[in-house]
Amino acid sequence: MALLITLGATAAFLVVLIFAVKARTEFFKNLDRRWIFLLMLVAVAVPVYVIGKTKETFPEKALPKAQAVFDVIEELSEGDKVLLAFDFDPGSEGELGPMATTFVYHCATKKLKMYFIALWPIGRQMIDDNIAKIIEPDFPQMVYGEDYMNLGFKAGNEGVINVIVTDIKQLYTTDAYGTDIAAIPMMEGIDSIQKMDLIINVSAGYPGTKEWVQYAVTPFPHDIRMVAGCTGVQAPLLYPYMPQQLPGLLAAIKGASEYESLVINKYGGDDISGKYLEAQRRMGPQLVAHVLMVLLIIAGNVIFFTERKREARS
């Protein structure tokens, strides 16, 4: 119903807009850009508020790439080892935060062993935040060092990947909290990340998914498998790696929302906490703002062509 109203209003608005723009080309051409800013603010703020109040979200349909990410993780069985590389920061948390949350929830539900790592300095804080937000309150039976561990941040970008694909203990002598790596039970027998059953990368740029594909997956195609979630800016650039080097990819908030719906529909139950529905909530403002963008482009073009016609006539 909400969708019908949104789209109906959009269509009506579009007609009015075209007529208005044609009639008052000069006014719209010289429109202060702050009005556009205000429109964008309203287009995002209203749905954030309405969805925050009603907690209703739009139905989600998973497309193949997100489905592939879900399927790859589903194939793993209890006790399998997963390296979760959190290469993002608050600057991209709007898109990637929900992915990270769902990845951790999915892995924890499936009782996979989680090894967190970060190539971004602030990635380490993102790991700590997710442990505090998901594992500690909702999976209290999980024991640090046996079921999950945090390797923390190391500087060096691809230089770090290049080391840990063949030898992890030379670089990581302790975990992020200063515990000897040899004293951590779940590190037993792990000499390199080739021992991982899957790498899950949440990536906001450089270093990120591209570097993991180049330095980990491509040189060791039989030993290292990876799926990833990335920002909208990166996503189109990573498509050439699929499906051979990268079986699945969550592209921007839409990918996050599809994957979230798959995981929550299967494991979430009816009284799932709102913190696991973040991406689906965010698709509300996305819809309205995308429609606004389309309308702005149309309005801009109506002005352009009306002007051009007028110039040609004169």
Partner: protein, 235 residues
């Protein structure tokens, strides 16, 4: 000495990385060089901080335009640095309680470092990136004109992606049954086709071009043909 040693260093380091890829015996050499590279990368963070301090101190001492803001930068930099490096307000590590706060976590919840991250760093960084939403809207209104075939293709694709990757896409073409032979025409499936085929083709060609470019630049540096990174002066 000033130019030949660094040239030699670059060549040796580079070729160690290449050899380590092909000869299993030399893998550990590659690891060692990579680890030194990683350590240097972390020292580069200190260099970055030092540079920032230097630039802003100079601005203050010169009383250049906006030097007041430089004072704010210096104060926030030093505050965060002292709190973080000194682990101020951090609790001891429960595994080693006798070690005092030095063994604790610098970003522990409740510590001043964490507080500064949550209340200052996080909102500032996230909002600065969020501002781009407004500028992209303004640019869409002012700059995207369907002037020719190329622009039409760009705009049409953008429309498909913008609508097809929201609930609108599913709703607008919901009349086409999923199981029918025409399901490929559903808006969301059109976006899948665009991304998997057209976008992949374009980016794959770009990727191949960039790879060749990167390889040739790297080779030029490693063979000593391109020495621009050594600078021109003797200073």
């Amino acid at each position: 000495m000033k130019r030949n040693v660094p040239l030699l260093l670059a060549i040796i380091a580079g070729f160690v990385m290449i050899v380590a890829f092909f000869i299993p015996y030399t893998v550990s050499w590659g690891e060692d060089v990579s680890i030194w590279f990683d350590i240097l990368a972390s020292i580069a963070f200190i260099l970055g901080g030092g540079n920032l301090l230097k630039v802003h101190l100079k601005k203050v001492s010169d009383q250049a335009k906006g030097w007041g803001y430089s004072i704010i930068t210096i104060i926030s930099f030093l505050a965060m640095l002292i709190i973080g490096l000194g682990k101020l307000g951090v609790n001891p590590n429960p595994q080693f309680p006798g070690h005092g706060h030095w063994a604790g976590q610098y970003n522990e919840i409740g510590s001043p470092f964490y507080w500064l991250f949550e209340s200052v760093f996080k909102p500032l960084q996230a909002t600065i990136f969020a501002m781009l939403a407004f500028y992209v809207a303004s640019a869409a209104f002012r700059a995207f004109r369907a002037k020719n075939m190329e622009a039409i293709l760009l705009l049409a694709t953008a429309f498909f992606i913008l609508l097809g990757r929201t609930a609108a896409g599913v709703f607008l073409t919901d009349f086409i049954p999923e199981e029918s032979g025409y399901s490929g025409l559903r808006l969301e499936n059109i976006t899948v086709f665009i991304m998997d085929v057209f976008n992949t083709a374009g980016h794959r060609a770009i990727m191949i071009g960039v790879a060749l470019g990167t390889a040739s630049v790297s080779l030029k540096i490693l063979l000593g043909v391109d020495r621009s990174y050594l600078g021109s002066g003797e200073g």
